[in-house]
Symmetry: C2
Subunit: 360 residues, 2 copies
Amino acid sequence: MPDHTRPPDKRVTIYDVAVEAAVSPSTVSRAFSRPSRVNSETAERIRQVAERLGYRTNPLARALTTSRTQMIALVIADITNPVYAEIVRGAQEAATDGEYTTVLIDAQESDRRERAAVERTMSTVDGIVLASSRMSDSAIRMFAKQRPVVVLNRAIADVPCVVTDNPRGVRRAAEHLGELGHDHITYVAGPQASWPNGIRWRSLLEAGMELEIKVRQIGPFSPTMDGGERAAQELCARPTTAVLAFNDQMAIGIIRGLSRMGVNVPGDVSVVGFDNILAADLVTPGLTTVAAPLYAEGSAATRHLLTMIAGAPGHTGRPMVLPVRLVVRQSTAARNPSPGRARPQWVGQRPASNPAAHLP
Amino acid sequence: MPDHTRPPDKRVTIYDVAVEAAVSPSTVSRAFSRPSRVNSETAERIRQVAERLGYRTNPLARALTTSRTQMIALVIADITNPVYAEIVRGAQEAATDGEYTTVLIDAQESDRRERAAVERTMSTVDGIVLASSRMSDSAIRMFAKQRPVVVLNRAIADVPCVVTDNPRGVRRAAEHLGELGHDHITYVAGPQASWPNGIRWRSLLEAGMELEIKVRQIGPFSPTMDGGERAAQELCARPTTAVLAFNDQMAIGIIRGLSRMGVNVPGDVSVVGFDNILAADLVTPGLTTVAAPLYAEGSAATRHLLTMIAGAPGHTGRPMVLPVRLVVRQSTAARNPSPGRARPQWVGQRPASNPAAHLP
DNA sequence: TTGAAAGCGCTAACAT
DNA sequence: ATGTTAGCGCTTTCAA
């Protein structure tokens, strides 16, 4: 039977080390300061004493005087969405490289929760990466005034931003559908508070103009498989031959919803998504989608944040734009000349996956 | 052009509020202490003054005196693995309810990284939930001596644990396969440092004994789709009719690997996974799998941790066991009497998804 | 290079 | 119910 009483946590302090090493506390402090300002034999001896005593510097106390916690916050819109996993990895790698710890915050697609969480965490971290924030521009600017902030997947004036090339991605998708004979594309919208949602629709509007493809929008729907299934119902009421969905999860939901109602993808309807999540390659038919360099997004945003924390000005001109590419799979096919009637899938006509080249 | 120089961050302190409200600093402190020990009109007035001045209590300074940061750490083995998303949600919900902030740490399937991260974070948090830790028992016990710790998906003596009913899950899977006529099951192992991996294999050994089904093990493989694809190759060299995989991601990899090599699932080989991730319902054929109450795991572990932080003894007797259920989809079928030859899939014979009842 | 002294912003005994 | 005093563990002037 283990004893259930917590030991009174006798912390070894700098003072204990100082006594043991027969130096002043400030000398001990210097031996542990970063960058190690002291390399003398004394410092080395102090470190050994500290090691022996099991001394660990208390980050809270240090932070109180330096106002540097060596932690950054990474806020993501929805941890359930697999896109963020890679972004988190990229961010964490960059943070670890800079000797920073990352505090992950899941906003659960809620403006309110996001604000509350950021407010609570703000004073505990040295900077914040906002990935796909659902907060208002003004709220974000307010936070940016108090701490270094980098925004991901969104462009806000006067705040450093990292975005992917949405216009280009949409354009490529529209071209692809156009080449397949579609003269009409329905955009299935995601959350209205999502910046990419807005720019994707506007980009489609523009691309449609240039390519002489008619476009329309339905939604908004929740950016999940469920949202996609609901969108599928609406699509049935107002048929199209080509769909561009806000993201892959919705696209997958759309494919499943349509299939259940007897509509063949890609026979009757072609579907394109965004993000190239793992599941896009798993569903049947495989999902044609616009892929973004997720890991690079997280890492670029974080690296930039660290330079700002270190005192750099923060790149607030144009946002940093990362390239995208179109990954063609089986969910898109030439337009069905006789819509509404099922037709055989073109087995073998399109490769299982397309190693589409990166953009320049 | 925004000014790039950070304002000197003039923090409003308790002292400023005290002066403005014409009371002593400690009175201000009390007005903000939790639980609010003061409800007098003075306290209300102080809060209004604070509001007006934009005062925010500094959690770092507070933590320095109270040694309570109101933060807990949640360590997960691999953020890329979708099982953890729901666990995180459950944990965060519970933490938020208790006015705690969750610091998420991704161990990236690495013992070393996990230790380093926990060591760095330990002194900053009031407690730790270790979900599927890859660290050694002794390392975990060491941490548990310094901070309240709850372990998820693993049983360690003298440390509070929350686990799912692995033996029961394996047993149900084995029974299911047995009923389908399989007299031989191959277990495809995951990481050796994973506790569920060990217990699943041992449980299968036991179930095989009782049900008179022969069992064997191959692996270990990485608990990812890639790992599953590699396992599929080995499975081809040593054929079976029934496979139980360490988790769903591996199971999906196995199905894809086998399909690519011309082996039909479930015609030639039945495959069962673990976890019931979303993708299990997405692949073709749908994956039969043992489902765990992910959200409940995260929430139960966290709630228990919070009681420990509040001073409760910590339930170190038997681990808390959460029920599982078998979700039957299309990846399992009656044993093929003429192995090696493709045979038609039994369309419509099995429902698309089975609303299997929860265990008692 | 080292030591002494003065806080960082807050809370927790004590008093009153 | 409020004020006074003394720190939490560390860093940082300023002197030596």
